[in-house]
Symmetry: C2
Subunit: 363 residues, 2 copies
């Protein structure tokens, strides 16, 4: 992440990841999730926080989930079932359960199919937020598979190139591929210029926007560096047409096709407009052994990722990284030093602990 999204030093409270994990499990169980689902849901959020992807960890989303469970907008005990299936494909009804624990079941099924046949893909409809996409794609790694995850909901974020209204969510993609000794390749991005959660995070830390990060309420890209305005629409990555926003728009549309249309929900912009939409997902597992020798693949990945990591840097930069490398480094640091949360986040945990009568201790 860009530095501007980091919690300012004066506001940082370090918490051991296992303490935060236990607190999060307690909260999910209180919301009605089974112990297994609560542990899985917490694992998705803690994996985000350990990887330095705090935009998708406990800071932003957990309070939203708690409110949605309170409003009975998420089904705490969904009956996830297969509605269509072939040798290598399936469509699941998520029964309005939280994607954090619903989607890993879909990826498990995709992996099982890939193990037998070489590849597997599963869509999910009527589901909810899945957290950091990388978590689900990374499930494929230990099986010597490449993982893909994409997800879409309703049109609360992105204005297409040259349009004057929102038509998409942030429609993110995540690919993961294993290596032998190098940190695995894990590429997880929103098709907006900036992930929605990072915009909220920037508002919290008072960070300025870059030109062409968002459009005004009419759809015109804001080309000044400024604070986030009250009313805005996220631009597709690229920002302006001249800088390739049609590419962000196109990947967003492809995500929509795989996630909501292929899963049978129809396009998000025709669903009821709510900040808490039902979502569709698409996961795919590609078994390396179906194409080439997995040992050769992992050796080649080491040569590939090592080559990128050791590439000559441009003037003013001290190194080149690849997707997944800084995150793997951050895990090492945070497992020892704890995770730096904004004190406002810790205050929320204390208040919800009192409100729900829980017993966890963060410090």
């Amino acid at each position: 992440m860009l530095d501007r999204f980091l919690v300012p030093e004066k506001d940082r409270v370090f918490v051991e990841s296992e303490k935060m994990r236990r607190a999060t499990i307690e909260i999910f169980e209180k919301c009605g999730q089974s112990p297994a689902d609560a542990a899985l849901s917490a694992d998705v959020l803690m994996t985000s926080d350990l990887r330095g992807c705090e935009s998708h960890g406990v800071s932003n989303q957990l309070r939203v989930y708690v409110q949605m469970y309170g409003d009975r907008e998420i089904n705490p005990t969904p009956n996830v079932r297969v509605t269509r299936e072939t040798d290598v494909t399936a469509n699941l009804d998520g029964d309005e359960g939280l994607g954090l624990h619903v989607l890993p079941k879909a990826m498990e099924l995709a992996i099982e199919k890939a193990e037998k046949h070489g590849m597997g893909a599963v869509t999910v409809h009527n589901s909810r937020h899945i957290g950091m996409l990388a978590y689900h794609s990374m499930m494929a790694l230990e099986h010597d598979m490449i993982g893909l995850t994409t997800t879409a909901g309703n049109p609360m974020s992105m204005v297409p190139t040259h349009a004057g209204e929102k038509m998409f969510a942030t429609n993110p993609w995540a690919w993961a591929a294993p290596a032998r000794n190098e940190a695995p390749f894990v590429f997880d991005i929103a098709t907006t210029q900036v992930a929605g959660n990072k915009l909220y995070l920037a508002q919290r830390v008072g960070a300025p926007m870059e030109p062409a990060w968002v459009a005004d309420a009419e759809g015109t890209p804001i080309m000044e560096s400024a604070q986030l305005p009250d009313e805005y629409m996220s631009l597709p990555f690229g920002g302006t047409r001249e800088q390739g926003s049609h590419k962000g728009y196109g990947f967003a549309a492809t995500c929509e096709i795989l996630s909501t249309i292929l899963s049978g929900m129809g396009p998000g912009f025709l669903m009821p407009k709510t900040p808490r939409p039902l979502m569709g997902h698409y996961v795919q597992a590609i078994k390396i052994d179906g194409f080439t020798d997995p040992d050769q693949f992992k050796d080649d990945m080491d040569r590939f990722l090592g080559g990128l990591r050791n590439a000559k840097p441009a003037p003013g930069h001290d190194r080149v990284v690849y997707a997944g490398l800084p995150e793997a480094e951050e895990v090492e640091i945070r497992q020892h030093e704890g995770i730096p949360y904004h004190r406002e986040v810790i205050e929320w945990f204390e208040s919800i602990k009192a409100e729900l009568g829980l017993g966890f201790e963060l410090v």
Copy 2:
């Protein structure tokens, strides 16, 4: 395409597509291709030119192919064979044949596997240039499937974010998905800011670059609007890190993993550095019926694409388009009016006709 890439009006020569197709078939046959392969190769190039994607039509690439056949760098009669196979995956040895006619065979195999099992994916190694990716992805459409194509070669184009050397080709992606009455969704893009062929085309028509389209020879993004310098490196889409170049870089790396590493060739930047590299490809066909009812899917696609097409435009714009719509409109126009080529292209055809002793007539 942006207007600046169009052939200037004063230099335009209109040619009927069928005349250009016959000329192109004659040239490919003279290069040693079988009549069937020559017809297929010409179809890929003419489909580009009809769709208004002249960067990938006969104007730029055909002369390169002819030279490569003359230098025996392309095998005119490749023995394309399966080197690994499962129910839904395969890896093909392209035997150094031209990707224009090798890759359709890979996509046919992917479609056949998807027809039986719900999905199919095929990699190709030791192949050559495949032309416009959309052609191959679009092969899936008539089978009620979604098509994906991606391809990589050696590092002649893209400098990764913050790097000071080229590590990638233009590493493009193309997705295609069918609709019922709307023009199909066809999304075909380079992961560089601008496709390599479009940079050559811009040089031919003398069009200026936008800021952050390319980096200088050290890797620093050129932020002025200027003519293309002699020495440059293409930036990943996004351009600068602040504008999301790590997204273009990540999709380029994913392309490399699927195309060259999964096909067993190893990363392109470790292959011999030549402007005429061997290439790896990845194609995938996704059978809609494996996830949802294809009739419902196509109706939903009409509602989706129609909704985008009829979205409110931003101030200063008269309409919103989706990927594949302008290209479908261009086909209608060019089938009637002919294809506008730069007169320099027509001169090349006349000279190659004389050189190879061919009989075609363009006008």
